[in-house]
Amino acid sequence: MPELLRTHPDRCHNLPALPYVAEGLAGKNLRRLSDRRAASFALTRLTPGTNVLAFCTGVGWLLRRLPGAVVALLAASIPCAIMVTMLTALFSSWQDNQLAQSAIHGAIAAAVAITVKTCWTIAKPHFKGHARLRVVLVGAAAFLLYVIAAIPAIEVLLLAAAIGALLPATPRE
């Protein structure tokens, strides 16, 4: 499945990249996959971890079962993991380089902004209609439980899951 490697170099930081990934993966089989691919799109959001990798694995499974899933996952993750490792090694070797540290310091300040913006990216799809109040309350409660009550993140997430099971279904707009 050489299409997998050809697809990968696209910047795929976010879910909007998924249609391109799907096209690269499925090629001429795209129409054959269409219904189940749509299901795979939805299920990607429900799979823990990195959405793009789950999607590639799902489409690989639909195309060639387990070998397809394994090849898709490896092709989607290995090249970028190697690049990240090389850059991390560079960052580590620059610890005593004054010039590099000055540049990294600015980049790290930008990383804080990226982290804060990601909060909105995560919450935004749910922030609509009647669900807005729920987003604010659940988000604020998680924030306060972690910061003020010092409850570990994993326990806050488990608590959120329990509360989600008890809450009435969100009305759809």
Partner: protein, 177 residues
Amino acid sequence: MNIVLLYLLLLKGTITAFAGLASLPVIQDAFVFQHHVLTDKQLNEAVVITRSTPGPVGLYIVSVGYFVAGAPGTIAGWLAMITPAFLIIPLVAFAGRRMEHPRIKNVLETVVIASAGLLLAAAIPLSRDALTDPVTIGIAVVSLALLLLTEIDTLWIILAASVISLSASSIGLLTHV
């Protein structure tokens, strides 16, 4: 740190998150606060590295693995990153329609929203480490505004921030580096 333990701790982060950086609070808890094998600066650097290379944001786990245990840590990070992806196979094969059940969707939505709140909380110690003078505070504020209001790629924002910081340092505005 033992590689198996490293893998399991990283996996705890990835398996409980439904978006790239959403695992950051769990990772910060485990490695920065509990085991003290990672610093907030390194965690911030991992985010910078991931946003400067192609690939999903969740790759920062690989960077964290490297910072904690070198090359073997990279492999542990990569394995922790890819392991949850296999969960989609049973989802596609068996549970597809059941996952559309309103109550299950409700649980997942609540977890995702809570992870956004946790990520905001995790940004506090990260900003304490990173925003130490007016220049870096300015960079963070302008970067956030650009990220929220424009479609500029994060790579350009990171590069611009580096250049500004380097320039500020060369004229003596950054004294702590």
